[in-house]
């Protein structure tokens, strides 16, 4: 009896009113919709580059001696022909003088022997000797004069002095580097391009490239393609590429500084559909779906899409949607198949 009572008690607690068979038509849910838009695909890359001058020359003396003059302020600009440094010319001047005297002596001697030879007094041998002596002393004189001229170094082209390695009054030996001159009419940007990008863009010269120095993101300059290596670096397997900058802007860059090169390739007007990232939901497996709005029925359906890239807050869709298709882009977690919806329109 008590068991029956208990049973009754338990049953009572579960007792229920009959479920009402009312299927109310639920009012459409207001949702935010976004249209899938076509966007141009531009593949842009960024590389760290090294800046180098188009031409960089080391100045060296071809003669030895004491430096008596230098005008080699690092970073200064020099014109072609401008005197940059001088070695004490005195020993060379003396050499020239000496050579000249010898040469004049040889000249006179030759003249004398020639006269005598013409009168057949001197032998043919004496005459030949005098001729040789004359030529030799002439060469010696020319050499001495050239050495003298080597005492002065002039700018070989319009340049910027990149570095100075000697001090005034120091003794210079042949072959010592005085300074480094850079041709700043152009600047080269060299950087390493990964194999993948290289092959993907093989033959493509239609690129827009810009460069800026690290830390100066606001000063951006256009640069153009110059050359690229076709053998990769043995370690990194990347290819060196060189772009150049011309014009006044070159003055703002220094050789060896680190720059960032941005390259944008316009790949044949490639386009992709972009939808807001917030519209994406997971599909049954590991892919993506979106809730597509069916405007004839004002309902939403789940459509599988393939995401190829994310740019900012947008996802690029490869397939599954057409241009202009509207997708739900907010509260996607609360949507469900066939839900009746109404588009949210901001009221002004």
């Amino acid at each position: 009896m008590n068991r029956i009572l208990l049973l009754v008690l338990v049953l009572l607690m579960q007792a229920c009113s009959e479920p009402e068979e009312v299927s109310k038509e639920v009012a459409p849910v207001v949702v935010q919709l976004s249209a899938a838009r076509l966007t141009h695909l531009s593949n842009s890359y960024q590389f760290p580059a090294t800046v180098s001058a188009v031409k960089s020359v080391d100045l060296k003396f071809e003669v030895s001696g004491r430096l008596i003059y230098e005008s080699l302020t690092e970073g200064s600009q020099v014109k072609k022909g401008q005197v940059l440094a001088k070695i004490d010319p005195a020993p060379f001047q003396r050499k020239v003088d000496e050579s000249r005297i010898r040469h004049e002596d040889a000249k006179r001697n030759l003249k004398r022997i020639k006269d005598v030879f013409e009168k057949n007094v001197a032998s043919q041998r004496d005459y030949d000797d005098a001729k040789s002596q004359y030529s030799l002393t002439k060469i010696a004189l020319a050499k001495a004069e050239q050495d003298l001229s080597y005492c002065t170094i002039r700018a070989p082209f319009d340049a910027v002095i990149g570095a100075r390695y000697i001090e005034n009054d120091s003794l210079i030996r042949v072959g010592d580097t005085l300074a480094n001159l850079q041709d700043r009419s152009k600047l080269h940007f060299t950087f390493e391009v990964p194999e993948r990008i290289m092959t993907a863009n093989a033959g493509n010269r239609d690129v827009k490239a810009t460069a800026h120095i690290i830390g100066q993101e606001d000063k951006v300059f256009d640069i153009h393609y110059v050359e690229h290596k076709t053998t990769p670096d043995p370690i990194t397997q990347t290819y060196g590429a060189t772009f150049a900058l011309q014009g006044e802007a070159t003055k703002l860059f220094y050789q060896g500084s680190r720059a960032i090169v941005n390259i944008k390739g316009n790949i044949a007007q490639a386009q992709a559909l972009a939808i807001p990232l917030s519209a994406l939901v997971g599909d049954r497996d590991s892919g993506f779906s979106v809730w597509r709005f069916d405007d004839t029925q004002s309902r939403i359906n789940k459509v599988d899409v393939k995401v190829t890239d994310i740019q900012g807050n947008y996802a690029l869709i490869a397939k599954g949607l057409n241009e202009g298709d509207k997708v739900v882009s907010a509260a996607v977690g609360q949507m469900r198949e066939g839900l009746a919806v109404r588009e949210y329109k901001a009221s002004y």
Binding site: M13, C16, F47, P48, P194, I260, L280, G333
Partner: protein, 1017 residues
């Protein structure tokens, strides 16, 4: 045995006993432990394992599975739940409910041992499993500290001081600090710059590690002494690091860290959890008191200590209460004591009114001493005053008065007839002591099912049984000893052989009704059966509830953003919501928790797992009764303001809240199938239109972007996976390159990319990777091909080792969960489940089922005891049969009462129902005994029935009226409301049952024809 005679001859003994109860009771009242809920162990342990970098599925397979297997072998295990998230596994182990709290530490030891054993089976890179076994600790005193003018470092310092001081307060067990703003040292490095220098992260890491670690120095032995030679370690944070220099590889030059990195101390980019109070960033201080202690006192001591500490800290620190258990307990216990006093007063007054002031004093006095004595015994047995034990006293109240009334009334009547006090007392006590004791034991037995059940419910409700046992037994003892004594002092002996006074109108009316009922006894019986059946039929119309809503003016609003949202987004939206709530009228304070839940500040609150997409608003309103409306309007407003997220309001209830009220669990293997099933169930709930807050616990999938690692290219370039992953970390959320100890705080040093011309994804694609074997930088694109975009599961929930998705929902506004559940469960059960998949119901259905099952285990035994006692009492079969036939009829009054008051039939009503049985049975027993006695004494059977009934009329209706009046104040207490209505309605009808149905059934069972003439004579 003549107890009454003994007590009247030796009154001093009785007085001594009473005095003990009075003084002891008062003493106990001030000293007895006060708690909000009974001390109750949550038999759960949580096992956390970190596995950085692994996907949820990988974590599930390689970590969760191993941990679960290890735990599976423990026989103490009840249920096993797990969540696998990317990089993180959390297994919750629930112990069998019948294992007692004191055994738990031993079980946790075994658990730890088992986990140690599987340590080597876990994959490389996974952390050792961490066991959290104090998961169920209640941090009942919960403060928020806000100090907008101070820095994070200062706040940390203040909270450290406060924590240290609060821990010294007596009775404080644990202090947990939350919401501290974590900081990190950020080194902004331009990757292109260091690539130009040929410096690498490993180089920098090496430099930092070599300079920032603590050094031990050496020691010298000089002149028999030891001299320590310490090496100073880094002391000042940033400068120290900035000035470290490192050699540029391959060059004869060095460079300082500050030349390549910009250092700064910043709040961590991805905070673990944020706390806010009233719109200000705050630190929370959660304090748990030791168990079995007077929480009220501890609360006061803490408050004093806090004042003291704050006096020594700079001004500008605001301390506010998020939740104060001490106060809640104080108020609820005080409120109850007031209720108790009111009840005692009402009972006494009612007795004065119906029986004269003398009886009022006699019964009221006995009642008061019974209550005080009960408190004394509770104190001696370490029982606390808390929700359940207080409830028990109220439930017992009705039965407490009964015994005293029966004795007092009988004695008074007899004395009025001119008998001496001694004779009357002896007569009535002898006559009623055994029936009363039997009835009392039956009353106690009704609750034995609850108190002795071998599980959590039993543990939680044990004090209910204990208090009922103590108070009822005490009331019987006092009724047979103290009541006659008091009666002796107060009742006057009437004139000798006074003829029975003319029956009152009330008596005459009863006689007429009884006469008619006995005359048409089968009609009466049929009528009763019809009414009873009608009541059962209309039971369905009563709202089904489980636990009533709490009267604490606090409610929650859970915020859930999409599962893959970042905590910074959650913070942004929570701050918006915060403003909206603070602008609403009727809000006293608002605590905001971002990324994680609040602490378990009351036993019945189950905190959510930390989740970046989760937030919690804890709203305190001025008025508890306004909460349902307030919660609804705020939730609607929040949803309007932010349709992207979900907001689920939850109102606190008494009793364990199991999260969502409607839960359907689908379990099986394939996540896709599980999601399909969940979608179908959700569609059913959406279709319903009324059911709200529909969601599932696997939530949205997340996006993964897997950069391909090109083995060949990376191999040539010498880029290892470690180099690769370091580069990815550096370009995204930051690469940890070292750490710096400052006092008690460890700063991580994080390197981040400072080149910000591109967004993070693009800069990663264009980045450089260090090849540690070739000591050279290689473009990222060279070693990584495609970026693969995909979605993945972020939360894999398992239950008892099977993947389980739970669809959760709440009943619509203005209906109970039971109604909503019943409307839809058939449809959900009709969903076709593929082979190997199954559906289980959770939520309120499950918890009420469990509670009832626990009761169901204990109840039969209790009923058996009741039945046996009733048989033993009479030694005959028909009388008990009569009793057990009328018991089911008690439901009539209950149904009528609940329908009239529009209250649900919940757990508390069930308890009230049980106490009703006790009272009904007691009345029936005493009446039946009386009839039997009168027949034995030689009265005609028919006359005996009528006269016995008439003699019981006054005590039965008096007891009923006093009880009804006694529980009446409780209607205004939300916790007891449905119970008090159950008792009031049930008792009113039970009185009629006793007075009409018992005589009618007796006459039917013994085939006694009662003529209306017998009645009228």
């Amino acid at each position: 045995m003549d107890i009454a005679r003994y007590s009247l001859t030796k009154p001093i003994n009785i007085w001594l006993m009473s005095l003990c109860f009075i003084i002891g009771g008062m003493l106990a009242m001030s000293k007895i432990g006060r708690l909000e809920d009974p001390a109750f162990t949550i038999k759960q342990a949580v096992i956390l394992t970190y596995y950085p970098g692994a996907s949820a599925e990988k974590v599930e397979k390689e970590v969760t599975e191993q941990v679960e297997t290890a735990l599976q072998q423990m026989w103490q295990l009840d249920t096993l739940r797990s969540v696998s998230k990317p990089g993180f596994s959390r297994v919750t182990m629930e112990i069998k409910p019948n294992i007692d709290g004191p055994h738990l530490p031993q079980i946790w030891d075994e658990l730890r041992k088992r986990l140690r054993d599987i340590r080597h089976e876990l994959p490389i890179g996974a952390s050792a499993p961490i066991v959290v076994d104090d998961f169920g600790d209640v941090y009942g005193i919960y403060y928020a500290l806000s100090a907008p003018d101070f820095s994070a470092e200062q706040m940390r310092e203040f909270s450290r001081i406060i924590r240290r001081e609060v821990l010294t307060v007596d009775g404080v067990a644990k202090v947990k600090i939350g919401g501290i703003l974590e900081e990190e040292i950020v080194a902004k490095i331009d990757s292109f710059q260091i690539s130009g220098l040929g410096l690498s992260f490993p180089d920098i890491q090496q430099v930092l590690a070599n300079n920032l670690k603590p050094f031990s120095g050496g020691r010298l032995y000089v002149g028999d002494k030891q001299i320590r030679l310490p090496v100073e370690s880094a002391t000042n944070k940033i400068e120290e690091i900035e000035n470290l220099s490192m050699v540029i590889p391959g060059k004869n030059a060095s460079i300082k860290i500050k030349d390549i990195a910009q250092l700064s101390i910043q709040p961590v980019a991805i905070p673990k959890g944020l706390k806010r109070f009233n719109g200000e960033s705050a630190i929370t201080l959660a304090i748990s008191a030791q168990s079995d202690i007077n929480v009220v006192d501890v609360g006061k001591n803490i408050a004093n200590k806090l004042d003291e500490v704050l006096a020594n800290l700079p001004a500008g620190i605001e301390v506010a209460n998020i939740y104060n258990q001490a106060q809640v307990v104080d108020e609820s216990v005080d409120g109850f004591i007031l209720n108790l006093e009111v009840s005692v007063a009402v009972v006494t007054l009612a007795l004065c009114l119906f029986m004269g002031w003398r009886s009022g004093i006699v019964v009221g006095g006995t009642l008061l001493i019974t209550v005080l004595g009960t408190v004394l015994i509770m104190w001696l047995y370490d029982l606390q005053l808390q929700r359940i034990s207080l409830g028990a006293m109220v439930i017992a109240m009705g039965m407490l008065v009964d015994n005293a009334i029966v004795v007092a009334e009988g004695m008074m009547l007899r004395m009025e007839k001119g008998k001496s006090a001694m004779e009357s007392a002896s007569y009535i006590v002898k006559r009623t002591q055994w029936p009363l004791l039997g009835a009392t034991i039956i009353g106690i037995a009704a609750f034995s099912g609850i108190g002795l059940s071998d599980d959590a419910t039993g543990e939680f409700l044990f004090s209910l049984f204990a208090v009922v046992l103590i108070s009822l037994l005490l009331s019987w003892i006092l009724a047979v000893t103290l009541t006659p004594l008091l009666g002796k002092y107060f009742y006057q002996v009437g004139k000798e052989q006074q003829t029975a006074s003319a029956p009152s109108f009330f008596h005459r009316a009863y006689l007429t009704v009884l006469g008619k009922a006995l005359q048409w006894r089968y009609v009466t019986l049929a009528l009763l059966v019809v009414i009873t059946l009608g009541a059962y039929a209309s039971f369905g119309a009563i709202k089904q509830g489980f636990f009533p809503l709490s009267n604490t003016p606090v409610f929650f609003i859970h915020y859930w953003g999409p599962q893959d949202s970042d905590i910074r987004a959650t913070e942004k939206y929570m701050k918006q919501g915060e403003q909206l709530i603070l602008d609403t009228d009727g809000i006293e304070s608002l605590s905001t928790f971002i990324g994680e839940s609040s602490e378990r500040f009351t036993l019945v609150f189950g905190p959510e797992l930390p989740n970046e997409s989760y937030g919690l608003f804890l709203v305190r309103a001025f008025d508890a009764s306004a909460i349902p409306e307030l919660a609804k309007t705020i939730a609607i407003k929040l949803r309007e303001a932010n349709p992207n997220s979900s907001f689920y309001p939850e109102i606190m209830q008494f009793g364990p809240g199991a999260g969502a009220k409607i839960q359907a669990r689908f379990s099986g293997q394939d996540p896709a199938v599980l999601r399909d099933l969940a979608e179908q169930a959700k569609a059913i709930y959406f279709q319903d239109g009324k059911i709200r807050d529909i969601r599932d616990d696997w939530r949205e999938k997340g996006i993964v972007l897997a950069p391909e690692y090109d083995d060949i290219a990376a191999g040539i370039a010498g880029v290892s996976r470690s180099d690769f992953s370091q580069a990815i970390k550096f370009y995204t959320d930051g690469l940890q390159i070292g750490q710096l100890q400052d006092g008690d705080y460890l700063y991580p040093i994080i390197a981040r990319n400072s080149n910000v011309t591109l967004d993070k994804l693009a800069s990663l694609k264009n980045s450089l990777v260090w090849s540690s074997s070739q000591r050279k930088y290689v473009p990222f694109k060279q070693v990584s091909g495609e970026m693969n975009y995909a979605t993945e599961e972020l939360l894999i929930n398992r239950r008892d080792r099977v993947r389980t998705i739970t669809v959760k929902a709440e009943a619509g506004y203005g209906e109970t969960t039971g109604e909503a559940f019943n409307r839809t469960y058939q449809q959900v059960e009709a969903i076709a489940l593929p082979e190997g998949y199954k559906l289980e119901w959770g939520g309120e259905y499950e918890s009420s089922r469990k509670a009832q099952a626990a009761l169901g285990q204990g109840l039969p035994l209790g009923f058996l005891v009741m039945f046996i006692i009733s048989v033993l009492l009479f030694g005959r079969a028909r009388q008990p049969l009569i009793i057990w036939l009328i018991v089911p009829m008690a439901v009539v009054g209950v149904v009528a009462g609940l329908l009239l008051a529009d209250l649900p039939f919940g757990f508390m009503s069930l308890l009230g129902f049980l106490s009703l049985f006790g009272m009904l049975i007691k009345n029936a027993i005493v009446l039946l005994e009386e009839i039997d006695l009168q027949i034995q004494e030689g009265k005609a059977q028919a006359q005996a029935i009528v006269e016995a009934s008439l003699s019981r009329l006054r005590p039965v209706s008096l007891a009923a009226i006093t009880t009804i009046l006694g529980v009446m104040p409780l209607i205004f207490d939300p916790f007891f409301a449905d119970m008090s209505v159950t008792i009031m309605g049930g008792l009113a009808f039970a009185t009629i049952l006793t007075m009409i149905a018992v005589p009618v059934l007796y006459s039917i069972f013994y085939r006694i024809k009662v003529q209306s003439t017998t009645v009228n004579s």
